[in-house]
Each structure stands twice: as C-alpha cells, then as structure tokens.
Symmetry: C2
Subunit: 295 residues, 2 copies
Amino acid sequence: MSRLPPLNALKCFETAARHGSFSKAAEELHVTQSAVNHQIRQLEHWFGVPLFDRQGRQTLPTPEGAELAESLAEAFGIMDGACQRIAKSDGKSNLTIAAIPSIATIWLIPRLPAFLKANPNIGVRLLHAIFEQPIDFEDVDLAITYGDWNQAPPTATKFLEGVSYPVCSAHYLTLAGPLREPADLLKCSLLHDFDRRPWSKWFKAAGTKIDDRLPGLLFEGFNLLYSSILAGQGVGLAPTAILADDLKAGRLVQLFDIPVLEEKAYFISEPANPRESRADDVAIFKAWLLEQAAS
Amino acid sequence: MSRLPPLNALKCFETAARHGSFSKAAEELHVTQSAVNHQIRQLEHWFGVPLFDRQGRQTLPTPEGAELAESLAEAFGIMDGACQRIAKSDGKSNLTIAAIPSIATIWLIPRLPAFLKANPNIGVRLLHAIFEQPIDFEDVDLAITYGDWNQAPPTATKFLEGVSYPVCSAHYLTLAGPLREPADLLKCSLLHDFDRRPWSKWFKAAGTKIDDRLPGLLFEGFNLLYSSILAGQGVGLAPTAILADDLKAGRLVQLFDIPVLEEKAYFISEPANPRESRADDVAIFKAWLLEQAAS
DNA sequence: CATAATACATGAATAAATTTCATGGAGCTG
DNA sequence: CAGCTCCATGAAATTTATTCATGTATTATG
C-alpha cells in the first residue's frame, strides 16, 4: 500500500467537507477552528492541490475535494462501524456503575429510568460497591462512594454532601410530640447506622449532656436505617442530600439545623485507566449525575 | 459519528495484523518495532480488549482483532485509492525532473529506460534546466544541475564529480599522433565550452607556458562541445564522470591525469516544499540516481 | 456607509502524541 | 546452551497537533 497522508488531517478534512465549514468541523471534533485550518492546509500542501474553494464566507470543496471527501466518508464509516462492534463485543458494552447500596437504592435507582429514556443508546449495569472496600476498576467505568472528602483521591468528584441531620418520618413526629430542643431527642428512639458515635457527636455539637452509651437500634447498613426511619420507628442521623425527595414530599422531616459529619461526602471515582471506547458515555453519565445532584 | 480510536494506532494495527508480526509492520511503516508495539498497546487499552494473542513467537490476531483488521483493511484501501486518485488528478502525476542539457543527454537519457522498466508505476517527465538560471520548483520534483559545489545550497546532494580532464576521441588521438606531454596539446585543435579560461587554467596547472589567448572552437553549451569531441574534431576539457560510458567503450580517451575545475560538481536539488504525495517516488528516483552514479 | 458579525488565515508558543533508544525477557533452533 | 528472533517496557527525544492571539475578508444591518 502506498504512502497515505496524515490520517488526522484526513479526518479533519472529511469533517470539514461534510459541514462545508471549518468552524463547524472544529466544533464536531472538539478542537479550535485554527487546528482544523492547519490540518487542512497541511493536507492541501501534501497533495499539492487545493481541496477547498475559499470564496469569502463560502467554503466549499473543490471537485477534487468533493471526490476525496466522498471516499473518506465511506472509509471512516467502515472504521467507525468496526470499532463500535469491537467496543461492544466484549459483553461489557453497558456502562458499569458501582454504587454503594444507600445511594443506589435511595437516590440513583429512582432517577435511572429518566436517564435511560434520555439516552437510549447507553445501557447501564449497576453493581453494589461494598462500603470501604476497594473497587475492582477492571470492570467498572464509574463508582459512586461515600466517605471522608478530605481523604478522597484528588481525581474524585464531589457529588452530594454527606452532612447529616436528625431525621424522622412525619408520622413519628406527630407521635413523639413536639421536639423543641435537642435534649428532647433523648426521649425518642434513636436509630444508629453501624455505630453510635455520630449521635454522640451530634449531642455534643448541640450542647446536650449525654450518658456514656446511647440507647437505640443499631443497623448494619444505611438502607436498613433508612427503612426504619421511613417506617416511623424513630429518629436517625442521615445525609439530607440523598433524602431530598422524601423531605420535599413531606414523608420525612429534618429536626434541628445542627449538622454532623460535615466532612463526609458522596463522590464519584473513575478508573485510573478508563476504557476510552466508553469515554463518551461515561462523560455523559457523569454530567447527568452532577446535574441531577444540583437540582 | 461516534468517537474513533487514534487513527495512527489503527493503521499500525492493520499493518501488524496483515503481517502477523509487529516487526514486519514496523518495517513497512518505516518505524521501529517499539513504536508499533506502543501503538497497538494503546489501541488494546482503548478498546479494553486484547487484539493479539502473544504466544511466544507467534503473534496472531484474536478473533476481535481479526474482525477489526478486516474492516480496517477495507477502509484503508478505500482511503488509499481515493488519495492516489487525488494525487494523480492534477495532471502532474509524473515525476518532473529538471536537468541541465549535458547530463540529460549524455548521462540520464541513456539510463532512463532501465529506471522506467524497473519502476513501471513511476512516470518521468524531463525538463531542461537552463544553466545558472533559477529553477521554478513549483512544477519540479527534483533538479540536476551543475555548478560550484562550495556554493551549492546545503540541501543539495552531490551526485557526480565535475572535475574535468582533457578528452578526445580515440580516432583523433591516432591522427594527432602521440601526445606525450601537456605542451603537445598546444599543437592540437582545442575545443572550448563557453569560454577559454578552463583551458588556460589547465595549462597553468600542467606547468605549460601559453600565449595570452588560446585558439580553438568555442561552443555554446556542453552538448555541442561533446558532439565535437566525439566527432574527432579536437581535444576538449570535459568532466570524465559523465563520460564514463564513452571512456569505458574506448570511444573517448582521457589525456593526462591533470585535473581542472575540481570544485565543480553535478548535484541534485529538491524543492523547499515538496509535494509529499510524490515523496516516495522522488526518494526512489533519487536513490536510483545515486546508485547509478556510484556504479 | 460605518459597524458588527462571521468565517477563514497565520505565526509563535504550548501541549500532546509518537518515536526512538536502550534494555529485558521468552521461545525456538542448531 | 548460545545465538536468533520476537515482543515488552520506561524514559528521553522528537515530531505533530493544538491553542492563543491576532489579522483579513466578506456579509448583514441599522
């Protein structure tokens, strides 16, 4: 096979010819107009033949350019098809998202149908990330975890605040009577996630003296705590960010404006070596996540 | 169109898959094996799928790799065809060589048929370069000129020596009788090219006292001088390098081993901005010229 | 008809990708 | 097992691509 011109220049040219505009091509290729211009110039010089007619505002391919563009479109089409097939042939075609159970159940799953509807070409496979256990990024395109934001890797993207407040169901509040000051909570059923220290911290922050050991149910995992709160079994400490829907709907009520666990956050992690063939989909999903979190 | 992998990596891969060998691909692409390796690695990482099975000495495409390679071969084939057509569509498809008349007639034209036979895909168009007149490189891929080598541009390639010796036809030598020493030449018909100074210089170099003005025929151009020498009309000063065939065949005879015009040379010049679509052909032709000159 | 507005052109500076270099390791083969 | 031939790899060097900061030309527009 004989010598080919620089392939990137050909790609630039094909795009520009398709749009009949360097600027549009630049946009499609996510580069500046200047870059496209340089590439096409290089190509014209390579051939020694002008490929575009520049007549003022109009920029149309010359006959040679048009012919070349046509063939290139075909060639790149074949390439693209083949690459798509390979990228999807490994059975991992879907975006694989690892999320800790809490956010997966409470926040992500309810929102996911909207994403799938808006992006019908992207499939999503959802895995559970076990809390504080390293994620096998071999098979994961993006992970959503919870932890101390100060200790998160610099590549992580903060996503939702982890700051927690006392929360209970609206129904429980009517039963437990008015809760005017923090100390009133000592009369309530306290619900704990894994350990009792957050509640201790909270009472300390609230300036309420407490006994050494706080009473109340201890759950193994936030989802169980959440179910318990929802069921009206008591007051739990929970990140209000992921409960926005419940709070807005009035199912849950936040008690007092005294925060705890301010340093915690939900954040997005990405593999050190992402599969670049998924890069676009990952970027779309990530943008969607952040947008959802912001609204 | 969705995101494509790096195109150069695809080209590398296609070549490697076709050869079933990284080293062979490297050779075809005129790069090192290392470069091919890096590119293919990059591509495998991009897809997240291995494209080659490395089993010791064997390096064969995986099924995915084979499928991809097939499509890529087709795509690159289309590209290549299209680029060839464009490169040749400008009516300047032939290599355009500008040569000064002397070397064109005496040296190049006799050798050209062999080149064309050995390289049937390359057409050659031969132009005359006028002596000491700038060449219009817009339309010339390679020029062969004669001049002072010390003043040649640094990009020029020396090709044949321009050093000249007294030369006459074998027949003339028998007529003019034995020519034992330089002074004997003064009795001969001296033949000049453009001006009489070279002969003056020669006699000076030979240590022979001469009158102010030398007699003899003055030709406008080396080809005329050459014809005259061949016809046995006298002794001329000529670069023996381009007369190698005549000297070997015995038609011409070199007299004395006293050189003149040592600083002159025939050399190859190339355009500052070559048409890269011709680069391969130009390189082949240039290599052939140098090889012919050396033999 | 001046004035934005839009699109391509260009040179220098910067950033990124590719290639080489210099090795290492693994599998044949005589 | 020594010598070949391949592929693998990290760091350095080189080449290529891109941006930035402008410039020029043409087209709309009040």
